[in-house]
């Protein structure tokens, strides 16, 4: 399921997968499947974008639906934000960054991450991390 949300290209860069409406060009995420499949073309979004807004999840979300670690001793706060990718869409995602470093407008790159589940397994999912470029201009 999660693998359909993004791909990693040959250069190792992750891209979100969205749907472009064949009739009106509207871009949506996740790319609709099933009944709406013929209505949308599958497209890759740009690897990098800018942070539109964010917050930091300071306390553990309830499990379920959250699958990650929630025990107070092992929980680490994580960022959540919307990243603007191109001219049409902003994607909501976890942010892989020092929470104190987050700023509206900063450059972010799409990355694949491994999220530890509370049950000891791990899931691969997408996130955004501060651009390498902005750290090493």
């Amino acid at each position: 399921m999660t693998s359909e949300l993004f791909i990693v290209d040959q250069a190792g860069k992750a891209h979100m997968i969205a749907g472009k409406n064949r009739a009106n060009g509207q871009i949506v995420f996740p790319c609709p499947a099933g009944e709406q499949e013929g209505v949308y073309d599958r497209i890759e979004l740009p690897h990098s974008g800018t942070l539109w807004t964010y917050t930091i999840q300071r306390i553990p979300p309830k499990n379920p639906p959250y699958a990650g670690v929630t025990s107070p001793e092992d929980y680490a706060p994580f960022g959540v934000g919307y990243v603007r990718l191109g001219d049409d869409i902003m994607i909501e995602a976890r942010l892989e960054a020092d929470p104190g470093s987050l700023q509206i407008g900063m450059q972010m790159d799409c990355v694949a991450i491994s999220l530890a589940r509370a049950d000891g397994t791990a899931m691969t999912t997408f996130a955004f991390a501060p651009s390498q470029r902005s750290h090493n201009p």
């Binding site: 964010y54 999840q57 639906p65």
Partner: protein, 381 residues
């Protein structure tokens, strides 16, 4: 078509009530509303009610009496109460009934709400990776708003401090201890920029309102508070709403803007006519943003408005005079009706040490997931 009056109002105080079920709170509120207007249960011709966590609202029927009336259960997120009220309003306005009950009650477990992605048409991964939290939405919306319109963290704290001050004057409020801005700012950060005491919490409570046609209200001598207009609207394209895996880049109008405009248009009134307002304050930022979305000020003016106390008692537009959701907590089914209950007290002159002098027009707006708003404008006759 008939004008519609609210002739009876009852509340079970909000808070935590061990030993009572959510349904008990709804029954007590309904009895209290009947007592308030001198009617008996068999006098009620139709009912609309909602509860999110305490079962179907029509479970009231066996407790109140099986009179055979139509009872419609309403499920509309945090805007359930507003939706119940307006359903009762339209039923009477249409001339179909002379009396109607709008009732809401709830009893939530402690801690934040725990929504299931399936119920919102969202994939399970959305919850699994930690995005299924209403608190994140409110935090991200005000974070961007502060960036765009120059609102400070101090202003967030001022809103919460006002809520606790107002709550300390309100018998039906849950949190009745005043708290200063610095303590609110220093409390535990929950979801930046919002701290623990800037958020409302799920709670318990019940509210019942009895509506009547003009003919019936006059007959009973209770034609004092008229429901002048109301509107419920859902989210339009390009609105930034809770539980959105993606947003368009363009920002459009919000359901609150649509509902507010529709209610004002139907009433032939504008924001400047309003004397007292209860608006959705899921957290401090929501009250600030809703001030502008409801048309009471422009974006960014809240910083000055709140610093000058214009939304506190004695100001030009007292807002959330009973402490709002921040001081009362949020029992989903009852929350929107609590706002209207408070406005009724204000218009009847029964709000005691939180009375807004000469209040004639009172406004309420409740917002709920996944993006809807209900507005009601009451008028003192």
């Amino acid at each position: 078509m008939s004008d519609v009056y609210i002739i009876g109002a009852g509340i079970h105080p909000f808070g935590r009530h061990d030993g009572k079920s959510g349904l008990d709170l709804g029954v007590e509120a309904t009895r209290s509303a009947l007592d308030d207007c001198g009617l008996a249960w068999p006098d009620i011709e139709t009912a609309f009610g909602g509860s999110s966590a305490s079962g179907n609202a029509d479970a009231l029927m066996p407790r109140m009496g099986l009179t055979g009336i139509q009872f419609i259960n309403v499920v509309n997120g945090c805007a359930t109460g507003g939706s119940s009220l307006l359903s009762a309003y339209w039923a009477i306005k249409a001339g179909e009934f002379d009396t109607a009950l709008a009732v809401g009650f709830d009893k939530h477990p402690r801690g934040s709400f725990n929504p299931d992605p399936d119920k919102y048409g969202l994939p399970q991964w959305y919850g699994e990776i930690g995005l299924m939290l209403t608190t994140q939405f409110f935090a991200m919306k005000i974070q961007r708003y502060m960036h765009d319109h120059g609102i400070s963290a101090r202003t967030l704290a001022r809103v919460a401090s006002k809520a606790f001050d107002n709550g300390s004057r309100t018998p039906h409020a849950w949190r009745r201890t005043a708290m200063d801005e610095d303590a609110i700012l220093a409390s535990r950060m929950i979801s930046d920029p919002l701290t623990q005491y800037m958020f409302c919490s799920p709670s318990e409570g019940g509210v019942a309102l009895i509506l009547a046609s003009e003919k019936k209200a006059r007959e009973l001598g209770r034609n004092h508070v008229r429901l002048r207009s109301g509107a419920v609207k859902t989210r339009p394209e390009n609105s930034f709403e809770v539980f959105s895996p993606a947003l368009s880049v363009e920002r459009g109008e919000t359901p609150t803007m649509l509902a507010s405009r529709a209610a004002f248009e139907k009433a032939g009134l504008g924001p400047k006519d309003i004397d007292v307002a209860q608006i959705q304050d899921t957290e401090s930022g929501a009250e600030i943003m809703h001030m502008a979305e409801n048309g009471f000020c422009r974006d960014g003016e809240q910083e000055q408005w709140i610093a000058e106390g214009r939304t506190a008692f004695g100001g030009q537009l007292p807002i959330n005079t009973d402490g709002g959701c921040i001081a009362c907590g949020e029992p989903i089914g009852a929350s929107g009706l609590r706002q209207v209950y408070e406005n009724i007290l204000q218009l009847r002159g029964q709000a005691e040490n939180r009375q807004v002098e000469n209040a004639r027009l009172a406004y309420s707006q409740v917002y709920g997931a996944p993006g809807l708003s209900a507005v009601a404008i009451l008028e003192k006759i």
